[in-house]
Symmetry: D2
Subunit: 505 residues, 4 copies
Amino acid sequence: NAVLPIEYHEQRIMEDVTGAQLIAEALKAQKVEYMFGIVGVPVIEVAMAAQASGIKYVGMHNEQAACYAASAVGYLTGRPVIVIGGSSDQKQETTGAFQEFPQVEACRLYSKFSARPSSLDMISSVVEKVYMFDQFFPIYFVREVPCCPPPPVSMADHMAITEALAVLKGAKRPLLIIGKGAAHGRAEGALRELVEGCGLPFLPTPMGKGVLPDDHPNCVAAARSRALLQSDVVVLLGARLNWILHFGLPPRFDPHVKVIQVDLCAEEMGNNVQPAAALLGDVNAIVKQLLEYVHKDGWKYPADTEWWTTLKEKMAANATMTKALALQSTTPMNYYQVFHHISQLLPHDCVIVSEGANTMDIGRTMLNNYLPRHRQGMPPHTQVKGQIHQVSCTFSLYKLPVVIIVVNNNGIYSGVDSETWEMMGKMGDLTTVAPPVTLLPEARYDEVMNAFGGRGFLVRTEEELRSALQLSLSDWERPSLLNVLIDPSSDRKQQEFPWLTRSNL
Amino acid sequence: NAVLPIEYHEQRIMEDVTGAQLIAEALKAQKVEYMFGIVGVPVIEVAMAAQASGIKYVGMHNEQAACYAASAVGYLTGRPVIVIGGSSDQKQETTGAFQEFPQVEACRLYSKFSARPSSLDMISSVVEKVYMFDQFFPIYFVREVPCCPPPPVSMADHMAITEALAVLKGAKRPLLIIGKGAAHGRAEGALRELVEGCGLPFLPTPMGKGVLPDDHPNCVAAARSRALLQSDVVVLLGARLNWILHFGLPPRFDPHVKVIQVDLCAEEMGNNVQPAAALLGDVNAIVKQLLEYVHKDGWKYPADTEWWTTLKEKMAANATMTKALALQSTTPMNYYQVFHHISQLLPHDCVIVSEGANTMDIGRTMLNNYLPRHRQGMPPHTQVKGQIHQVSCTFSLYKLPVVIIVVNNNGIYSGVDSETWEMMGKMGDLTTVAPPVTLLPEARYDEVMNAFGGRGFLVRTEEELRSALQLSLSDWERPSLLNVLIDPSSDRKQQEFPWLTRSNL
Amino acid sequence: NAVLPIEYHEQRIMEDVTGAQLIAEALKAQKVEYMFGIVGVPVIEVAMAAQASGIKYVGMHNEQAACYAASAVGYLTGRPVIVIGGSSDQKQETTGAFQEFPQVEACRLYSKFSARPSSLDMISSVVEKVYMFDQFFPIYFVREVPCCPPPPVSMADHMAITEALAVLKGAKRPLLIIGKGAAHGRAEGALRELVEGCGLPFLPTPMGKGVLPDDHPNCVAAARSRALLQSDVVVLLGARLNWILHFGLPPRFDPHVKVIQVDLCAEEMGNNVQPAAALLGDVNAIVKQLLEYVHKDGWKYPADTEWWTTLKEKMAANATMTKALALQSTTPMNYYQVFHHISQLLPHDCVIVSEGANTMDIGRTMLNNYLPRHRQGMPPHTQVKGQIHQVSCTFSLYKLPVVIIVVNNNGIYSGVDSETWEMMGKMGDLTTVAPPVTLLPEARYDEVMNAFGGRGFLVRTEEELRSALQLSLSDWERPSLLNVLIDPSSDRKQQEFPWLTRSNL
Amino acid sequence: NAVLPIEYHEQRIMEDVTGAQLIAEALKAQKVEYMFGIVGVPVIEVAMAAQASGIKYVGMHNEQAACYAASAVGYLTGRPVIVIGGSSDQKQETTGAFQEFPQVEACRLYSKFSARPSSLDMISSVVEKVYMFDQFFPIYFVREVPCCPPPPVSMADHMAITEALAVLKGAKRPLLIIGKGAAHGRAEGALRELVEGCGLPFLPTPMGKGVLPDDHPNCVAAARSRALLQSDVVVLLGARLNWILHFGLPPRFDPHVKVIQVDLCAEEMGNNVQPAAALLGDVNAIVKQLLEYVHKDGWKYPADTEWWTTLKEKMAANATMTKALALQSTTPMNYYQVFHHISQLLPHDCVIVSEGANTMDIGRTMLNNYLPRHRQGMPPHTQVKGQIHQVSCTFSLYKLPVVIIVVNNNGIYSGVDSETWEMMGKMGDLTTVAPPVTLLPEARYDEVMNAFGGRGFLVRTEEELRSALQLSLSDWERPSLLNVLIDPSSDRKQQEFPWLTRSNL
């Protein structure tokens, strides 16, 4: 809840408090632990006051990166992200002041709540006047800001639960889809009980991975397209029928699929597909309500259905195909080889962050998550390769326990090898002849990490990959970066439906 | 839910369908019954198509008034208001086209959802092409739009209910505040059971009036200020601690008051005052949850407390003061006389709409509501007197069963009598000497009604008032207007706290 | 220039000055003469302070109407319109305060400049503190705000003038189009010299009417469509190629037409059609520049060209057709009869305001303007009939010298007669059977004017029209309204191109 | 002019043209030479089509950097920057599509013009239909888009010129301020004539540097504060009285200073200070108008005034102080030493780009510009150090002739040395103990450049600096980076008024 509840509490002397301190204290009172930022003239004092209040300050290299970092913390802790920006003095508005801009207005489209705190302003303007007139200004009431309580939880009403269960029990080919909302709602316990108790197949969305482990026997991620297409009853558990789930429409879904929608947000109900049952409320609370009913009659979806057979066959077939690619043992490596070895070495409790179309798509199927909220995405189309400098620098500065693995294909989507690149250079101005997707071949991202005191590895072979990764994972004193050179022409295996294809509405 | 759920359904021939018809059919499919508007070049066809689809069309005189009318229907039916606006052709954007404007963007701040329907656009552009190329264009799939289901209902979780009841049972001076959310949620049955079963005093907000009848013995509206100020536990039932309830803060509330907040909207929780218990969900469902628990132990707030004594004494004192004003029998009349007679004659099942500071304030206390959702407000600061022409004209045109009572004090807040006005006219240019609050003395609003075929009455005495009102109420064939001339200096009785006073934050 | 220049000037005692007074004084210092508004709780003091400062205050009935009135004054005086709105206290933002809304942001799309005056805020907050702390608060520097000078004038550069004249001199079928910018720039003297000196035909846009008199021998308004279509060189003088001029494109313009664009605004250059010459600057200054060059060589467009013959023949033909309609002498009258008599009786120095599709279209051709800036439009699609109450009331209140002529066809675009209306009433619910364009037949708008002390006339015949209009024009002590009942099926004569037709891009 | 003028021209076959090609061709027709971007799913085709049309494509690492690069080109060429963004399909709006967002609306506050090209949309949707229906779709009219002409130029009117000269000739202490507008208007020739012909002192703003050479004898930049404070007549030549010029107000300006304002933009006139004369129009054209008048009477400001004496004394004193710092010859170096050697070695025709508070402030005074438009700023508060990766990578990829000099003080504003840093690390978590302004000491930015095939130098001494810079300047085959380690506590010499100080309004 971004609106801070405010209460009159007690009085305090104002003379020795600055606006920056008041901001810092207000944040601390809200139990904020981390601040990410870039200091400069109008905000440097805020960062210092935050540190003085016991908030950890992490200096970043641009505002976008700071927001990504903060939203990662927000996802892990379930708390909203607050963006604090400097601005010109209110009294200088319309005068062409330094950084004059309607910040509150500009944030409207991007945020749930956007305001300029007039109460802090008032306080700081009073303080300012005290100094200005050099007279005694005894006391001033400041509103103490207690920490806001956790957001209230709501449940679905009984009728809707009954309807939903009637639909589910009538399903021939049921499918649970576990989304980010389930992770956010910490529904892992209840969901495990539902999945295992009722014997239902489930599919995680990218951000729902790990709520139940990816290697759970009921997880049908390896038959994703088939499961979506043929299911007759889909239960959306904090997942949404947007582009990630192909809008819930043909040709990716059965046109007659029945949807049971479990969501916190009333406005989401019926988007794109009208649900057969709409369960409004907290995912965890609602799964518990479902369990309560199911426990009464002990309903269970049979294990010996055609649906399970179909799904298992498809999963096996996909596994075989993936394995073949992963075991090719060529040099330069392909994506599947790389992910195969990474998946074998990664500890189960690590947080996995991925970006880049191929890396994300292949990684999603080959890198298992075992724990909830241990997977992070990044906003689409941020080029990770372009961010290596700043993450290397920040991670090294604060000695953060991070391993960066660059699956380096010399390009975006795909690149070229060094000889081709050299040849291109001879053909003319590279701005004219180099395909927009190419990057410098064999760029030494590992050296960038070294430049800031981290540990960089140049990796060309499977052996080098295993050894570098093991070394990195055994020493968390500083960050590591593996620059894994792969075949620039390596690609995903052929898909029935490519992931990012525009839907055929 | 403003986002229309969409489903592939069946095919139809497109040649003979226009965009206006598709809009009309889509609205009809959503069970829209009324359209209010002003026709003009880009929207005239939409109104005609709507009528052809069986939607009732009411022509208005300006857009603002059309929105008020639609939102009144929305309040009575519990359905969102949809605003449809014309615009220039998309292909003429940036060319200086007729009525070119970014309408979707301009509506962002004022609406829950704002969009330009690209799918209807597509359809109409295909139709257009058919005619353009004069060739057979056989069939086209149109998405049938079934009516969206009622919004899903959610309940509070059990823990929050328990907490709320613990707080309520510990109250010495409890107060239920019944707000618009209770009316919207149709919680009247459950609330009556709670109020009567537990013996609790209640106070309606302006839009909560009538959920329980204003003459219910537990209604403490006549001691409003006292009740707010001294209560130690307030239960907000779809009411919000905004300016209407003085932000829930001193000096209008006890600084230590505990708040139990029942609301549909998580973002509302803790605004201005942090609640002791937050019950998120549908007001009706949550009151039923509370009742379930209360029924178990039969808890009841005692009838013989000091709190009830205080409230009843204050109510009696206020009633005496009001009665004295109402029975003055002077001519010209004062506000209290006028409302006294109106309240005696109005049928219990009429819908009361009021506007104007004094009229609203005094009317709120003197005109009882007996049924839920039978009171309407109007947006603040629309001058009703300035709207008389358009409502007279519209009501007469459609022969609507409405009685308009103008409590005419010759001004806004207060006016002057005819002699004073004439004297002012002699003092100089009226734009310079007439106070901004004055209007033309004894303006003949009744004649305006006559001009459009309705029935106007000029009323100066109590007898004329009773007779004109009885006549109006006995014949609903056409609208009536009572132009009740009162003492221009008539005012409210002295208030402890004036209603609109800025809070003393 | 909406940004007020600010200067340190002298000191003054703050104790006895309110924010409203500071606003009033700031407006007065800017030589503001009129304020239009609706008073209510947050702005009543501003209106009173304005009157106290000598500003004339005109009370209106809604905000829209107040803005129209102010923009009319703005057009006549060449000064920008300032909209002042109340708002909740800054310190109550985000609390659900009365009329809390981001006003500055909401005005962004509608205004050139939008701000919340932080300096006045500061002042008033200091004043407020003085009272709050009840102590002596000696002196405070207030910025005196001198009246801003008239906006600076710029001229075209010499090269562009030369180019423009080369194009113009090469024209076979030249046409000057005189727009609102010429009226705004007070270019009437220079333009008369150009038109008469060079013997050029001209066409006014609706808001350019009267810059040169409509009965000027070189005015070709009566051959508008022909002139636009066949001209080979068009000189835009403060006129723009938007929908009013059909975007300057075929089929309404020659595809090879050369455009000489004279405009104050660089961003307007080349919109829709790339100009052969672009003259950036003040219309008056640039016409003078053109004259300077033309005077040197005495260039003149010949009077005996085929172009003049074409235009004059077309004008004569159109005049004959109009005259035939105007002299029909039937009862009920048609539009042309009504405008024929009005045009004969109107004094040459009256300001003409018109609205309503037919009224505007026919009035534009039949009612001549003889003086610059004596014609006003109204924003499209405001239904004048719906505004009669408020204008009657306001005009009567302030005894303004206005004659309102309602050309009453019982509808919008077209209505029905009383018998048809009655028949419809019997066919069922009027919201279902009455066409959206119909209004109450023979509504007595004249009685509405009477209700507020003005003078209303019901007019059915040519004689009644002449007599009522002569009476109205001979007594300016109070406003008059002529309710002229015409044949509900009266329409415009057939047009080659209907005015409002969507362009055929 | 961002609005592309459009003309019907000739027909072409549509079958083989894509939307991306149409965009590319439209850009090429507008003589666009460079495109900067990041490719990804929805825009990759646009980059490829642009290259195919002969536009140079430079791949960047984030959108912000791409915009900076484009705006640098815009500044050098005098043409507006166009931002092209991908978006979800219009028909997928409101469905939760990939990258669904109201882009046009979001850009409103940041751009002069913002639109979604409906005409290209139309074209591409027709193409799409061709494939969809698999039938012959013969021809389609496409509007050819000729290149828009250069923006028209306007001049001041004669009266304003006369007024301005009267004020200037009356000046005791005149000062010309040459701003970005003069650079943009290419006014260098005329300005040199004015400065030298009339013997006037001038001061460039940061972006006005080089319009006249910084070593011109009339340049008083070395006495900036004095010149601003004591001048009685300031001529603003495309410069604005915003924060850069301290709002033109005390204590940085004489409260009685008279301002002659020369600006392209009417809305800028009178901002903060009301001008004594306002010359609206193109800076170059207006300076020529001034010259025309001055030539007539041969007016000249005397060379032997007290004003020139004051300015020259102050300049000499400042030069002495700067020289003392520059010649300290310590290791580690200070800012002044570094800039001293750089200024000696830089060729006069290089483009200088600077960022970082100290670097910018000291560089502005110590690095001379000799040619117009050879200085570039960067938007405030972008941390250059954080961008080194991406510029190194981009510059290396395209082998651009750039020398990057990092004046490395281990921090933002100021850092710490390696020992202090190590000590801090032992004191606890660096997020808590490291000041927000510190960066990793002695970070190897030079190694980052090496990692991408450029040439990095680690520089600690004056000798190393000279040698590395000479090497870099003698070989333009690849970019170089000098990582110049300076004393982390090095700072600017004491200022009378610090540059970024908030003005004392």
